[in-house]
């Protein structure tokens, strides 16, 4: 059909048509052809709405069922941790005298602990603290790691050599040992500072509690190196591109080139690395809390709830199994979602 239309507008010499006739083939007449209407022309050119980077990534992510299920679980957990306590009667510190060590029932869905505190609401708060630790620690890693990596990659040469040597050193430090040590040593030191200092900073920080701050400091000192390496690699590649040269030629300062041109182009890598840092941070926090140097009373986290339940684990196994299961589920879905996000944002990395 379309070929006919094409030949229809083609200025064929008439003698050629005669040849067709001699060979016994069909001879075309003018009314065999019909001009294509505007509709048909439009349907011929296949137009797809152009997708932005984010729409494209979201389209790929939506196809990934595992990632979507994980996202759903993560959203449920966030609702459970942040919205749940609003609709619940009890407070996580209230102790019901005479109702200690109750097994799960209608009034207390997860039972009560040995101080008579409702475990359902404590689990909500534990999940909240675990999530907050994961997110804040990842943001710390994000800020330090991307700044460090971008500077190191952008300036290159001697600066890069020295900065990467430092990263290599930190990389070979046995992290858990140092984190354990940091949170042990900083906790009493910070507590004393909070009690004696009257400055605004101390007051603001004391809301968080010393153990949380100790964990964050540990993250800020040790865990940004992975992020720094990734961003450095990206920046090394990106800085050779024309738009960077153009920006420099226009007189942009180094910090402007890094902030406005280089970092925004690493955004996919930054998001994925940050996202995968969240479960790692929650994992580490639970480890510390379980050993008794993490989050401490009256605050609680899923890790420290498990630790508290260790004493009566044969008599009240549900107290250990509930937070432990939630914790594992949370870390698992964050990991799976992070993997899915990586595939969606950077399909080249997919194996």
């Amino acid at each position: 059909m379309r070929i006919h239309k094409f030949f229809g507008v083609f200025p064929f010499p008439t003698w050629q048509m005669d040849v067709d006739g001699v060979l016994g083939q069909q001879t075309y007449k003018d009314d065999d052809f019909e001009k294509a209407g505007a509709d048909e022309k439009e349907s011929f050119i296949e137009m797809k709405p152009s997708l932005s980077y984010w729409q494209d990534a979201w389209r790929r992510l939506k196809k990934n069922q595992v990632a979507m299920v994980s996202l759903f679980i993560i959203i449920l957990m966030i609702l459970f941790a942040f919205v749940g306590p609003l609709f619940y009667d009890y407070d996580y510190t209230t102790q019901f005298r005479g109702e200690e060590n109750i097994d799960p029932n209608w009034r207390y869905p997860f039972g009560t602990d040995n101080h008579g505190r409702d475990l359902f609401v404590r689990t909500m708060f534990g999940a909240r603290i675990s999530l907050v630790i994961g997110i804040v620690a990842s943001l710390i890693v994000l800020v330090i790691g991307s700044t460090y990596g971008a500077i190191s990659g952008y300036f290159g040469g001697r600066v890069d050599d020295i900065m990467m040597r430092i990263v290599e050193l930190i990389y070979s430090v046995p992290d858990i040992l140092v984190v354990l040590l940091l949170s042990t040593a900083l906790k009493p030191a910070l507590t004393e500072w909070f009690n004696t200092s009257t400055s605004q900073l101390a007051k603001a920080l004391s809301v968080l509690g010393p153990s949380l701050i100790a964990i964050f400091i540990a993250f800020g000192l040790l865990y940004w190196v992975g992020m720094a390496r990734i961003i450095r690699g990206q920046v090394l590649m990106l800085k050779e591109q024309e738009y960077v040269t153009a920006a420099k030629a226009l007189g942009a300062s180094s910090s402007r080139v890094i902030r406005r041109h280089l970092l925004p182009n690493c955004i996919g890598q930054i998001i994925v690395t940050t996202c995968l840092q969240i479960p790692a941070a929650i994992f580490l926090e639970s480890f510390l809390s379980f050993l008794g140097v993490g989050v401490s009373a009256p605050l609680t986290s899923l890790g420290s709830m498990s630790s508290d339940a260790l004493g009566g684990m044969y008599t009240y196994p549900h107290r250990l199994i509930i937070p432990a299961t939630l914790l594992s589920l949370l870390i698992l879905s964050l990991n799976l979602f992070g993997d899915g996000l990586r595939d969606a944002l950077d399909p080249r990395l997919k194996k």
Partner: protein, 311 residues
Amino acid sequence: MMKFIAKRVAQALIVIFLITCITFLLMNLVPGGPFLSEKSPSPQVLAALEAKYGLDKPVPVQLKNYIVHALQGDFGVSMKMQKNRPVGTIIMEMFPVSAKVGIIALVGAVLIGVPIGCIAAYYRGTWIDSALRVLTTIGVSIPGFVVATVLLILLGSTWKLLPTVGLTSWKSYIMPCFSLAFYPMCYIGRLARSSMLDVINQEYIRTAKAKGVPTFKIVFKHALRNAFIPVLTYLGPLTAGILTGGFVVETVFNIPGLGRYFVQSILNRDYPIIMGTTIFLASFIVTMTLVVDILYKAVDPRIDLAKGGSR
């Protein structure tokens, strides 16, 4: 090669030195001392105690003294937990217990993890691959203490299959070693699978296929040799993971090893033990990483280590 080794040894020494300093300074940051949590002694007694342990001198002097003594193998004496016993002796007494459990877990993790990865790569795209991927992803998401406590509740208490406390018979090694090995096993499985998939696409594998070597033999003989290299590099971090994982596992299963002791010394603020153990474990881990890096070069001569490609 020699240049590389020299560079790596220097780096390892710097790390150990830094950790020693950091540990020492952090321990000094702690307000109150190891003596304060007991019934507070009179000022005279306190001064005498501080003089005895050298705590009255300025911090840099203390640090210098500590390093000089540590170099001679003297890590001081325990202040609280086993009063006046040399820390070196305590470590040497506890470490073999941890090492025994750790080595079993390490060998187990490699011996099970690598075949898991190979099988997943061999059956890639089938349900076996998916099942193994689910298992290994779950494995790297569950904290060690969850594995340990769930095993303890199920196998130890509910079904009463295995002993729950201590290390009395071979049976009591099963649960601690498994809890310790589970995470690295799954991690190695993932690592082995992806490196196996990289190797399988290489030319020499195609040659082997063309020759008519059976697929099974290609995977487990020809490809495994090269696919094993990334697993080898993981052995350094793996040692660290197993030693630190021991903190949790030994606490849960009440194993009298260095891990549990370290945690107790932290909770009791026994400075010399904390410092001695940290420095000992850190040196051990750094040394293991160093050895693995050098081994890496020996196994695969294609790797150019002089360019700092240590990881």
